[in-house]
């Protein structure tokens, strides 16, 4: 088993966080995992993306040249990663913020208006978790319970109260992939 995914957005959107949570979920399921972030000087804004690889074998390079799946949160990332997705792969993109339209016919596209969906849930901050849910629902790379456990481990003590809302967001995303 080998799963390769890129999460990309601008700094502050939480693209790196969901990558870390996925890597943690993988480790919880006894898989090998690598998470490789790339970001600029800025705390907010600027490009922020990460490569996440999950495998039951030893992982060679942690760098993904052509991802099976790209999870895209903003316009600039759409333009950057759309041409790189592997033929037959998939792209999830945030239609709340992205106005670009798909240009390829050899990959599958999933529209996820995650900022609007997060508002429906009452908290804009879980937009990234909706996208992660969509990826996990699509790829079945790990179980949703493992994602929740990974998130708990990442957030640490004192943030447990946010778990039910995050879980809801994950499930909402997974429902899109199931359509």
């Amino acid at each position: 088993m080998l799963k390769e995914v890129i999460f990309s957005g601008f700094g502050g959107q939480g693209a790196l966080l969901i990558g870390q949570v996925l890597a943690m979920a993988g480790v919880i399921e006894d898989l090998n995992a690598t998470y490789r972030p790339t970001y600029g000087f800025e705390k907010r804004g600027g490009v922020a993306f990460c490569d996440v690889i999950l495998s039951d074998e030893e992982i060679g390079t942690p760098v993904i040249e052509n991802p099976e799946v790209a999870v895209i949160m903003d316009e600039a990332s759409f333009k950057r990663f759309e041409p790189l997705v592997k033929k037959g792969g998939a792209m999830f993109y945030n239609t709340s913020l992205i106005s670009s339209k798909p240009t390829r016919d050899d990959i599958e596209y999933f529209e996820v208006p995650c900022n609007d969906m997060a508002k429906e849930l009452g908290n804009d901050k879980v937009a990234n978790m909706i996208l992660l849910g969509a990826y996990v629902g699509y790829s079945k790379a790990v179980a949703m319970d493992s994602v929740e456990a990974g998130l708990k481990a990442k957030l640490g003590h004192g943030k447990e109260k946010t778990i039910p809302l995050n879980r809801k967001a994950l499930e909402m995303g997974a429902a899109i992939a199931a359509k």
């Binding site: 480790v27 995992a33 998470y35 972030p37 600029g40 390079t61 942690p62 760098v63």
Partner: protein, 356 residues
């Protein structure tokens, strides 16, 4: 126990588990998680953490701790390591052990904050004055980075020398599962620090504790240099580390270290799928460099591809090793633009064709 950790934090924890008691440093991306982790963890472990006012101050604090026989380290990126060179040559001349971690970013000057291997010359050729060398480890995975920083402390104390560990920013920033060896005991062959360290006052036999690097008489300084040279010869003889894969009967051998070597593994896989035999020589120590091992491993190769995130730095040592016996091609990406396994494969194909 295996744990998913960020590279910089894993390396810091591994250092502490190898007995590092003092950390002095000054912030710089992409290694800031090292001091951040050290700041709470060392205190928890009864050590000392100090954020110095500059890199020059950090290296001199490390000098002081090392001279007292304590396991101490600092970390920085190439820019900061540049500022520390005066201290490093002084540590070498006074034979004070310490560990220097360089998490490399793009250069020259301020460059970028992303991954690079352009400090190869800085670490292997040094920037300080005089006839000294900095034994330097170049790990490729997080696990190896943890294992080798632990070994670096032993090497530093075994030979009484500053020792470097260099990783590109990818290794510092990425997360991967690691199993950090806990409570690692010093190699039993390491001499007792009380034989040389300064602790104030006189020794029991009345002699003065002294660490010095200044000579008034040229002949004395020359003799000291010859002694140092013998030490470096011993290190060359005993401490070379290299990982050699699939080189027997290989069409092309890739020479690479660090993250570039991990990417080269993918290139080797592409070779297997497409019928081109690709081997790899991966130096784990870049000083001392595995010259003999490299030459021997490349015996069957039609050509050798030197791959690095720098322009022709590793290449100098590859040339020294091969002594003109094989055609050499190069492949590089720089300043945070990652090498591509596919492009590296194309370079191998081209080399194999041309070398026929």
């Amino acid at each position: 126990m295996k744990k998913l950790m960020k590279g910089n934090e894993a390396i810091a924890e591994a250092a502490i588990q190898a007995g590092c008691k003092c950390y002095f440093g000054y912030p710089i991306t992409p290694q800031n998680e090292v001091p951040e982790y050290m700041s709470w963890r060392l205190r928890e472990m009864g050590g000392v953490f100090k954020q110095a006012e500059s890199e020059v101050a950090s290296v001199n604090m490390v000098y002081g701790a090392g001279a007292a026989g304590v396991r101490a380290m600092t970390s920085s990126s190439g820019l900061g390591i540049a500022l520390m060179q005066e201290g490093i040559t002084n540590l070498a001349s006074t034979q004070v052990p310490a560990v220097f971690l360089n998490v490399m970013r793009g250069g020259p000057g301020l460059g970028t904050i992303q991954a690079s291997q352009a400090d190869y010359n800085q670490m292997t050729r040094g920037g300080g004055n005089g006839d000294y060398y900095l034994p330097t480890y170049a790990p490729s995975t997080l696990q190896e980075a943890c294992d080798l920083i632990q070994k670096a402390f032993d090497t530093a104390f075994k030979y009484r020398t500053p020792v470097g560990v260099m990783v590109d920013a990818t290794i510092g920033n990425m997360m991967e599962s690691v199993d950090i060896k806990e409570n690692v005991q010093p190699d039993p062959s390491i001499p007792d620090v009380n034989e040389w360290c300064i602790r104030g006052g006189r020794r029991e036999d009345g002699s003065v504790h002294r660490i010095k690097g200044l000579f008034n008489v040229p002949e004395e300084c020359e003799a000291f240099n010859e002694e140092l040279a013998k030490k470096y010869d011993k290190i060359r003889e005993n401490e070379v580390m290299v990982d050699i894969k699939d080189c027997e009967g290989a069409d092309v051998v890739i020479v690479a270290y660090g993250t570039t070597a991990r990417i080269a593994k993918q290139t080797m896989k592409l070779g297997k799928e497409n019928g081109l035999k690709i081997g790899m020589v991966r130096p784990q120590t870049v000083w001392p460099f595995p010259y003999d091992e490299l030459r021997e491993a490349c015996r069957d190769a039609k050509g050798v591809l030197c791959a690095e995130m720098a322009i022709d730095q590793l290449l100098q040592d590859v040339k020294l090793a091969l002594e003109g016996t094989k055609p050499i091609a190069t492949y590089h990406r720089l300043s945070g633009v990652m090498p591509s396994a596919n492009d590296m494969y194309d370079a191998c194909v081209k080399l194999a064709k041309e070398a026929k």
